[in-house]
Symmetry: C2
Subunit: 111 residues, 2 copies
């Protein structure tokens, strides 16, 4: 199993305003919020195969949104064989922005 | 003292995804995040006179950002005499999106 796709970002430095703004921006789109919600609800904690994510947009639009989430450090991507897996970087996010993801999921998750 | 400017929004209905996305979008701009941070730090809890808010943008740009925050339900505006006051709708936000504003302020507030 190799890690490919967007290189995993290392966020050991304190989060900056720019990081926070990028995360808020990434979450403020209906398709991306839907992706995050589906990942959060996944049984294998926070991870789904790309093709398991149900979206009402074209593949290339979905791919664009997945890239935006990965760039913001919200998701990680890995490939295994011919499958691509997307996971929620919950621990990283909780460390960088305590409470943020939970509050967004709470607001978005119960409807 | 009369309430003018953006009409105070009443959010008695459960918050929708659209409401959440609007709040996240409104917070995901450096100028608007700065305004929210200044309001949160204000001594008179969460309220500042318009002219007390220090921004490095033109008055019309600032006005645009203030409108965006008010529309999203993040701030309220009132006029008293010739002064305009902006306040953070902390209780409303906490009720609609528990923990969201706190987590954003925590991430943004200590730098």
């Amino acid at each position: 199993m190799t890690e490919t796709g967007s290189p995993p970002q290392v966020h050991d430095d304190p989060a900056t305003d720019a990081d926070l703004l990028e995360v808020l921006q990434a979450l403020s789109d209906p398709v991306r919020l839907d992706i995050v919600r589906q990942l959060a609800a996944a049984e294998n904690p926070g991870e789904l195969m790309c093709r398991q994510i149900r979206l009402s947009v074209t593949k290339s639009t979905a791919s664009h949104h997945l890239k935006t989430l990965a760039r913001a450090g919200i998701t990680a991507e890995r490939e295994a064989g011919t499958s691509k897996f997307i996971s929620l970087r919950r621990d990283d996010l909780d460390r960088r922005f305590p409470g943020l993801l939970d509050s967004v999921l709470q607001a978005a998750g119960t409807r």
